[in-house]
Assembly symmetry: C2
Homo-oligomer: 224 residues x 2
């Protein structure tokens, strides 16, 4: 059975990617990060989802992005609330974490090489959240080229790394529909940037607004 490393945050998108990769026939090794994010509840949800969706392993790597600051997700900057729809997609959001997906993919690459896997999956999406430069297809393609230069697996053993991005061209509504089709327990996924400690979403941050819109457009009741 082919092995894959799947980046898993506890959110809807990465849970859907995990379910997708399982359906594609991969033995999935889920990878989450404790990176100084505001809330730990997303890691609890990631563990729950890894189990529910049949990952063979779930690792949590400790990294320290707070050392550098620079984002509302890791520093003492307020997460914006109740912004109008148009504002969400204008420019790079304050919730952008410098080089985050580069760091996450670098760890995934180390993990993949160690377990002799050459498949990595990540829930980036270029449609509804195009403000993040490290979610774009050209960034992912560039990382794939890098992976094939960076590792002993590729340079010595002939491995060809592939970065799977099944959500790349889907709208949020499309992701919701795919999640339901794949049997993701969507009510256990957490999208909110600023939830209560018990996991209740704030309902007002960009991620909550986008999620609500996606479920509405897909005609799916959230929490199901």
């Amino acid at each position: 059975m082919k092995r894959a490393v799947v980046l898993l945050s506890g959110g809807l998108d990465s849970a859907t990617v995990l379910a997708w990769m399982r359906r594609e026939g991969y033995a999935c090794h889920a990878l989450s990060f404790r990176y100084g994010q505001r809330h730990e509840i997303e890691l609890a949800r990631a563990a729950e989802l890894a189990h529910a969706l049949g990952a063979v392993e779930h690792k949590v790597a400790e990294i320290d992005l707070r050392a550098f600051g620079g984002s509302a997700l890791t520093a003492d900057i307020d997460v914006p609330k109740d912004r109008a729809d148009g504002e969400i997609s204008s420019g790079v959001p304050i919730t952008y974490v410098p080089a985050r997906n580069t760091i996450f993919l670098a760890f995934a690459l180390a993990y993949a090489e160690t377990i002799r896997s050459s498949d990595i999956a990540i829930g980036v999406n270029a449609i509804d959240y195009s403000g993040y430069p490290d979610c774009r297809p050209e960034f992912i393609a560039s990382f794939e080229r890098l992976a094939n230069l960076a590792t002993a697996a590729a340079t010595e053993d002939g491995a060809r790394f592939k970065i799977h991005t099944p959500l790349q061209m889907l709208s949020k509504a499309g992701i919701v529909r795919l999640a339901v089709e794949l049997g993701v327990p969507v009510g256990r996924t957490l999208s909110c940037y600023d939830p209560l400690p018990n996991g209740t979403p704030c309902g007002h941050c960009d991620a909550c607004i986008l999620r609500r819109k996606g479920f509405a457009e897909a005609g799916v009741v959230d929490g199901g």
Copy 2:
């Protein structure tokens, strides 16, 4: 004054890079990692060298490469000792850490973007230690391209990231000569993979053998 992030391990090569970047006129922000390496003494040396060579800041980021294992530098695998010269450069060494330079450069990129720097320096070297795939010029060039796609600084603010590799084409003897020329306190640098807790090098690992050869060829007494 232009700012640069300099990856600093406490070894001879990275200390020489720091001294080089200082001479080039950069305000240098040194970055080290606590990554589950066998010995902590190299971090103490890194702090000492950052101070001695005039870095404006020295950060130590905590990362957890031991979670993945896979290398003699982070897992319970013996560091090879007293190998003949020819063995050192044949293939990828057991001391190779999967995706290590990819991870280190990803963190440097996050740090650089946060302090509005677009210059990163790393002591990779393609000559004497060509067994590491992530020390080759094509890997560095690929990371530079990635950096210019990965960040808000590059995609929104017009920054052009450059990865400086002043040691790329130098022999170990050449690095020793450069270090001396730049005033690096070479006796305080630590190359050994498996030193005593007090910092005394083992004298028998690949790094010790290579260092001894470099000093001999340069006609420089080590420890000076």
